[in-house]
């Protein structure tokens, strides 16, 4: 009869009114500053540079200024200036490092493509969202110092992902050392052979131990599992 639909609708709103007092499913508001919802582990906001040593973040940056992320970044908000000299990285190999590494967070849209294309796991996504600043230009331009954060912080915000990355880096480093040991052993054996046959022409110096396998830009990085 006329009006039964309206009465049915009123019943639904009444059920919700009463439900919102006792049924948690019908009361969805969290009072933000006091109560906070737990962020899911995959949550991503602005990127940050991973540094191996906590005490000297800028010195121990993993980034080798290869500028792949600068080229791939869709809104072009990363600006890198490669340093002239080199410094030893975690595996002891001489690598460049970024003299200037700026990210303009007013342009960055947190799409994490830089993380995906970085072959050195040097840049990861952060979980900060309370970063409002009064000043419109310079405060949003984060330089190397503000971006560098230690690996321990990375393990804290993305635990499983960090564990995977660390395991892979450790495995690479071990493989690198074994290759270096094997190369050193081979060099030693060759040197011994050269000594055994002094007349033989000096064999060409063994090629420098191949640097730890820099995963070619071609090989796809296995996708990170959540």
């Amino acid at each position: 009869m006329l009006g039964s639909g309206i009465i049915q609708g009123l019943a639904v709103t009444a059920k919700n009114l009463v439900g919102s007092f006792h049924d948690p499913a019908r009361f969805t508001t969290t009072q933000y500053p006091e109560e906070r919802t737990k962020l899911p582990e995959n949550y991503r906001n602005f990127p940050f540079l991973v540094a191996d040593a906590a005490n000297d973040p800028i010195g121990s940056l993993r980034c080798v200024a290869c500028q792949i992320c600068e080229k791939e970044c869709p809104p072009q908000c990363i600006y890198i200036e490669k340093s002239k000299d080199k410094k030893p990285d975690a595996a002891g190999k001489q690598q460049f490092f970024p003299a200037v590494f700026d990210i303009d967070t007013s342009v960055c849209m947190s799409c994490q493509i830089c993380v995906e294309v970085c072959p050195f796991d040097a840049i990861k996504m952060d979980q900060v969202f309370e970063i409002a600043t009064p000043e419109r230009f310079n405060a949003l331009l984060l330089d190397r110092g503000q971006l560098a954060k230690p690996n321990t912080y990375y393990q804290q915000i993305h635990p499983t992902e960090a564990a995977e990355v660390d395991a892979r880096l450790a495995a690479d480093r071990k493989a690198g050392e074994e290759k270096a040991k094997a190369a050193a052993a081979a060099a030693a054996a060759k040197a011994a052979a050269a000594k055994a046959a002094p007349a033989a022409p000096a064999s060409t110096a063994p090629s420098a131990p191949k640097s730890p396998a820099v995963p070619g830009t071609e090989a796809p990085k296995p996708p990170t599992t959540a």
């Binding site: 009006g3 639909g5 609708g9 639904v12 709103t13 899911p40 995959n42 995906e116 959540a226």
Partner: protein, 390 residues
Amino acid sequence: MIESPSSPLAPLAGAHVRAVHDAFHGDLLEVSMGPHHPSTHGVFRMMVTLDGETVVKLKPVFGYLHRNHEKLGENTTYLGSMPYTDRLDYFCSMTNNWAYALAVEKLAGQAVPDRAEYLRVILAELTRLLNHTCLAGFLLQDAGASGTPLMYAFREREKILDLFESLSGSRMMCNYQRFGGCRVDPTPAWFDAARRVTEEYPRFLDEYEALITGNEILMARTQGVGRLSAALAVSAGITGPMLRACGVDYDLRKAEPYGFYSRFEFRVPLGDHGDTYDRYMIRILEMRESVKILQQALRDIPAGPIFDSKAKIRAFRPKAGEAYGRIEGPKGEIGFYLISDGTGNPYRYRIRPPSFVNLTVLEDMCLGHTIADAVIILGSIDIVLGEVDR
């Protein structure tokens, strides 16, 4: 059987338009609704000419949100455009990603593993659920309910967005699909959460329909309002729920099965009147079908890789050629037309947005109705300006 209409642009002035309208009478009221009007779903403007209350002429004006997305696509790499597709129809970022990935895979002949195909179907159907729920909420908001159905819609939408956030990292800007699969493999905990949401959804839909579908005031406001004939709909390229509300049986998931849709058993609801009430009801029934698809997909998703071994993330250069890929998005058929010249950037990157084409018949539907109806008819088309203006 769809007979071809005579020239579709037969003079629009029907009986409802008073015969004599010349400067002498001068009683026509020119109203500009938008772009700051509270009920135009974004920066959209309608130049409406009123004869008293009835709409006599209605010219949509848009382009306020135009940022030339397609030129951007030509200046960035294939991968670089993927996060921009989230910003097209910002309600359904997963289906936008899938449409773009499908087109590029068709362009490069790239294979996709089974698990990734299942994941894509699950995420697309979840997007369809949240889009149709929000549509019903906005339709009631235009009809004047003080936001109650909209709040229920957003309560349910939050549950689905939590799933997207825990999977892809961001609620609305997921940037999740890649050419040849997906980016992140969900954990078993994620699948349990997804199953819980899918089980609870029919209960929410029943309560939602009890509040809205039988409501006499809504039926009076929407039945017989904004009627669209099947012939005009097909000729005007209308797609999605709006087309099926006119009784035309054309759903890409059935008409041209892409992905793994042929493996799932679901039905396509059709309306008979093609008015605003049918467009609302078709979306409600489609949600129930989406829940069925989700249950089947979540039940038998296989293990295995989610990213094709030969696929490349960076330095992706498809051979020269062109391809047009399209999928059944929640708002209609969203298509991507790509021309590649062998370099890393696409030579031509074109999006066929559903709401942009569906707006073609806005004037035909609003003629003869009052201005209050024009607001509801616009709401029933379900437009999002990010996609209309590109």
